[in-house]
Symmetry: C2
Subunit: 293 residues, 2 copies
DNA sequence: CACCTCTAATCCGTTTTTTGCATTAATACA
DNA sequence: TGTATTAATGCAAAAAACGGATTAGAGGTG
């Protein structure tokens, strides 16, 4: 199967055989054997060209996923065998990268400096699947996951805020009605995405019955704040962004709130994960106390 | 790995070797080889007893899942190779088993009698994961799935209804306020579940500020209707239950609505699935027309 | 304590599978 | 027509898997 996956990329027996350090004849036989065992051809080949069959295309994709899962299972087992030390993988929404996450990492690396944490870039897979397939160990998210094999705990709720430049006409006193922002230029994080926060944004705008004028879209909150500070538009971000050390912007609370959840595998006899969750809860309480409505 | 999975069940080399049709010596070597490759022990064995290590327990569970996935991948590939004929697996919420589903199956088996359909019992895994792992091909559900590799389409919305016995004091005219049902005895489908419908039910009751008195809980809609007809209580069910041929009950529309979605893998070059989806949409329209608000 | 039983590991010869070299066969291209 | 390219095949060597017989250690029994 591993040979096949390389071959499916190369579509060339001889080049593939070099890549996997074996002779061309042996590779040819291996693929034949595999096809015989499966009962159908994975590749169409005349004497000159090689190309994947439909079934072959499917198995290329699926086997790569599954062999990755196999490798991860092995890694995970090794961790368990060694007393679950080493590496914790964490997925997170961009909106906590300026306040919650740095603080969590700071307190945690102070306590367990030998522990390595991997911050996983948000992909298109859901946190649920990532957890269940052992891609990650902990997921922070704006909505809770539902799967019965997973645990989910709300850490805190926070308002979402209008963010404007310091010299902008809007402030707590001049802001009365969301509808009055119809002519403002917005800088928003990926409205087209399927994330919970983007969905919330869409809901706000449909509730108030207008489409925001957006000239820039970016996912990186820090960049948004810079753009806002430079008078390029206004934005909507979770409250906790103001805990970051950004200057030149003003936050105005809105009615809407977002939550932050931690999610993890229910039975994962890894005390490090438990410790991180405890830390997260404590930190959640601290942040809760810092929010002024 | 397959040997290991049997051994992990039996915890006995000789019995295992018989089950997998090989000698005890060879099995012993295979397991040793596997452990050596992994770099850690899967089983603790003294001369008398065999038991799994923690890592072994984990891999037993995970490998079984993944080897199942491997088998399913192969089956799926074979289907693709043969032009995707054969078997379609469908997951569904219990609430469509009395109206939508039978009609769909009837029209479909009439058109393609050689096609086999498998109705998958709802498990604790989410439809999303079941689709992505090729456990099922189509999922009907009360909420749409979000994963970017999956398609989701709303078929219709229907009210949820109070269901009472024919001789019950409640009817369209006497019903005014949900709150007035506080003293009624309810027969409800698994309130404690995490299904979308159960969540809706909980939301209704929390909105109106009382806990329903429930003496019976069951998931089987048909049974609920029988119990209601026999005066054992009242219930709340989706509108379409009244398309079933039940007598002795009366339906009273409530404000709340539930949707029905079809969900499937986006790129699944199986024209049978597409056909089922088309049929479902058509049937959805038909049902929509039959709903009298 | 001597003896038997049970069971996983090990020794060793046999069988099966995998691999590589050399060659073949089929195709494309000049 | 001739040459280069490339997948398949014949064959022998190497590696891996396998089975029978035996060993080793633990537990039980009289």
């Amino acid at each position: 199967m591993r040979y096949f996956l390389v071959l499916a990329e190369e579509l060339h027996f001889w080049r593939t055989s070099e890549k996997v350090f074996m002779s061309q004849s042996s590779l040819s036989r291996q693929i034949q054997g595999l096809e015989e065992e499966l009962g159908f051809k994975l590749l169409e080949r005349d004497k000159r060209n090689v190309k994947l069959t439909e079934a072959g295309k499917f198995l290329q994709k699926r086997w790569r996923e599954l062999l990755d899962d196999m490798d991860r299972a092995q890694t995970q087992a090794k961790k368990i065998n060694m007393g679950s030390s080493g590496l914790i993988s964490i997925a997170y929404p961009g909106s906590i990268s300026s306040s919650f996450l740095p603080e969590l990492l700071r307190t945690f690396t102070a306590e367990m400096p030998e522990m390595k944490m991997e911050l996983v870039e948000p992909t298109d897979a859901t946190n649920e699947k990532l957890l269940l397939d052992y891609h990650i160990d902990i997921a922070f998210s704006r909505d809770s996951v539902q799967h019965p094999a997973l645990s989910s705990k709300k850490l805190y709720s926070e308002p979402v805020c209008l963010v404007v430049a310091e010299n902008h006409w809007l402030n707590e006193n001049t802001y009365h009605d969301f509808k009055s922002l119809e002519n403002e230029s917005f800088i928003l994080s990926g409205l087209h995405h399927t994330t919970f926060f983007a969905t919330l944004l869409r809901r706000i705008f449909t509730t108030y019955g207008f489409e925001p004028k957006t000239h820039v879209e970016t996912d990186f909150g820090g960049l948004i704040l810079n753009l806002v500070a430079n008078g390029l538009g206004i934005s909507i971000l979770p409250y906790s962004f103001q805990f970051g050390s950004y200057t030149g912007v003003r936050f105005i609370n809105l009615q809407e709130e977002v939550d932050l959840y931690v999610n993890w595998r229910k039975k994962d006899e890894n005390e490090v994960i438990e410790k991180i969750i405890q830390h997260s809860e404590a930190l959640g309480e601290k942040i809760k106390a810092r929010i002024i409505l």
